[in-house]
Symmetry: C2
Subunit: 428 residues, 2 copies
């Protein structure tokens, strides 16, 4: 039971299964339930999960270390399911925020290890007090849960930290075709929960939201049912709701030089509290799949620039063939993969980590479906903005989509032992 | 590759993985991708999938036979994920509806076997025509997909079939505390897609919706991320968003006598087209989890009538212990499990098959979370109505929930070879 492993900065290397007699504090004790599970596997930040989407999933009790040089949930091999929440502060009292962030950090670390928010939190406490864990993940393994924390510009303003505002948190320009709903945009802070079991991701967000009562309130929340990106060369490229493989040329965990150049904020980029961190750009993209579905296969492939079956760039034969972007070549001048390519954008690359969603119906006879685009990058204004400007102006795909939500968050570096979410900022 | 099996009435016993060269017509040919997959497993309607929720999932390429004495997706061991859609007819032309039902049936049968809607539908057809499959499930295995079809009373009215209206489709009474949104209620017909991979369930619904364009339009649609019921004794009981095990005393596939008594419509119950079928009652139940989470553990357990940890009825020690419902016994007079018990309801039992959901946020600082309750039963008015009346009047849980959507559908018996969805009704 439980191959021990350790993250780059002392990540917890063992996990039990949540349960009444489960993990308690730092001295890990495995519950009886845990003994019934399959072997737990700890994955270091640089390690790799494998398997095609839909192939036999990774061990459900895989644990991703919570602490490390960088936050988990960024280059971690993209898990299958997402629950993302943006929250607003309901206070401007910095000490209350710090107290919450400490409490969140402790609960987050425990939950990513497969434990309850507090020892015995669901059923073991004072029966005449509300439980400290809501219980719906009791008996479920860690499921590769990661919890990634970010702050928006408005948090710094509310807490009087304007002097620490990094340039990357400046508001995004309006892009052609934007139809942003303020109720689906912005937020003082965000928590991205990714896991291979959606109940585990939902449980984590719900318990952090619960803990925040009185200090934070939910601004918006998004479930994603299927990953649309790979962040590791060992993962098969999944398909988006246009039916195409997406993100073939994504940044990958196995290319540290590219991550240093395009992903991680470096000393000197801006205020020191964000060194080793990154920015998260979220865009809720409604996809008018009904219109797309009435487009011919040939036109779809021309618009995307790839063949639908194999994912090969037009003119190529394999998904990972280098796209022939020569003028007059097989790939249209306004094809999506050309406009989004590093070649066309002066070398710009980003780490995409988005998810397919369906949020019921739109009241007009259609599914309310789309892509919850999440990207991590070193500088939103130098990377996301030029890319989105090129796409918004020229990409024919834009005729089939509508950007309905938008937010930018700064995600600080990973935590060393004893540190709490946002500490580098709150104590800057 | 591919252990062959067969359903009770010639269900397709082999499955490939969707792909360009995938399953073609009735003569099943396995694609190259399929050969790379793990062994396919066919599950007869009476067979049993196992595994605790969150334990190593069943083989992803498990195929549930589409045809049989009863529709799949009812006593089939409850899969992990749901996409449910209610549609309205946009025509009253019976022949157009029949043509669509034939087309739907062929596509549904292929998709549940892990294939595209039509042979080569995603990428193999005329490149200058819209593809006949949207492609996002290419490369994904069958994932235990089931597609269950039902009709609402309004369909019969629209198509001039009033004489065939079964008594079970009469409108439900208003229950105390109902706050039903018409946009989340009713529908001329429904399709319930259940699968262990949500992308497979969403793909199936999306393609049936697409095929229906011009004849049907989406009325409402609901994703469920986690099952809240077991329909087989081999499944572990999952937890709802109140953190409790739910449906311990559910009807189970292994009890054919109880299914005959409580689930399947029998000859003589009503119009013959529904013989061997069942009714589906859907209720979208918003759960005010934030209020629940501020309730003490003791109060939660009193309200439910079970211990939160083990799921044992109060006074018992194991989940499956018989509840002591004696007057003055350990279980409160208004406890949920007492009010919903067969003992209190004159022997009434139902087959619950619901799912947890989170539909973003409610705009007031909370998650929009709850239970999408789905039950199958022989007579909604003799079974669901008295149960819900008792719960609506006396169940303290009702203080924490709000019924926001409601629908009743009649689900005909399973299909023999060559039959199509709704044939017994349309040709009655």
């Amino acid at each position: 039971m439980g191959a021990a492993g350790s993250g780059p900065a002392g990540g917890r290397g063992r996990a039990g299964v949540r349960g009444r007699a489960g993990v308690r504090g730092a001295g890990v004790r495995l519950s009886r339930r845990a003994l019934l599970g399959a072997g737990a596997v700890a994955v270091g930040a640089g390690a790799v999960a494998c398997g095609a989407p839909g192939a036999a999933p990774a061990a459900a009790d895989r644990v991703v270390p919570f602490r490390g040089a960088h936050q988990a949930g960024i280059v971690t091999p993209a898990q299958d399911r997402l629950h993302f929440v943006a929250l607003d502060l309901t206070t401007t009292d910095r000490s209350r925020v710090v107290a919450l962030l400490r409490e969140w950090t402790a609960a987050a670390e425990r939950m990513t290890a497969g434990a309850e928010t507090t020892p015995g939190g669901a059923t073991g406490g004072n029966p005449y007090a509300p439980p400290e864990d809501t219980g719906e993940a009791l008996g479920l393994p860690a499921s590769s849960l990661t919890l990634t924390f970010g702050v928006g510009a408005s948090l710094l303003t509310k807490l009087g930290l304007e002097a620490q505002l990094p340039a990357g948190l400046a508001e995004l320009p309006r892009f052609a075709g934007d139809r942003l709903d303020p109720a689906l945009s912005g937020g003082d802070l965000c928590i991205q929960a990714c896991a291979d079991d959606p109940q585990v991701a939902v449980h984590a967000v719900r318990n952090l939201v619960r803990t925040g009562f009185g200090t934070t309130a939910v601004r918006w929340s998004q479930l994603g049912f299927g990953r649309t990106s790979s962040t590791s060369t060992a993962q098969a490229t999944p398909r988006n709701l246009f039916g195409f493989k997406d993100g073939t040329n994504n940044l990958k965990a196995e290319d540290p030089d590219a991550l240093r150049e395009h992903l991680w904020v470096a000393p000197g980029d801006g205020p020191a509290w964000l060194d080793g961190g990154t920015y998260l750009v979220a865009r809720r993209i409604r996809m008018h799949v009904e219109i797309w579905d009435r487009t011919s296969l040939a036109e779809q492939e021309t618009i995307v620039g790839r063949t639908k079956g194999s994912g090969a760039p037009l003119g190529g034969t394999g998904e990972f063939d280098v796209a022939d972007l020569s003028p007059g070549g097989p790939i249209d001048v306004n094809a999506h993969i050309r406009l989004a390519s590093a070649q066309e954008l002066g070398g710009v690359k980003i780490l995409r980590r988005g998810y397919n969603f369906v949020d019921g119906s739109d009241g007009q006879g259609h599914l309310n479906a789309g892509l919850f685009f999440v990207a991590f990058l070193r500088d939103p204004h130098a990377q996301f903005v030029p890319m989105q400007q090129a796409l918004a102006r020229h990409d024919v795909l834009m005729e089939y989509v509508e950007h309905t939500g938008s937010a930018v968050f700064a995600c600080p570096a990973g935590l060393g032992e004893g540190a709490y979410w946002g500490q580098s900022l709150l104590e800057a």
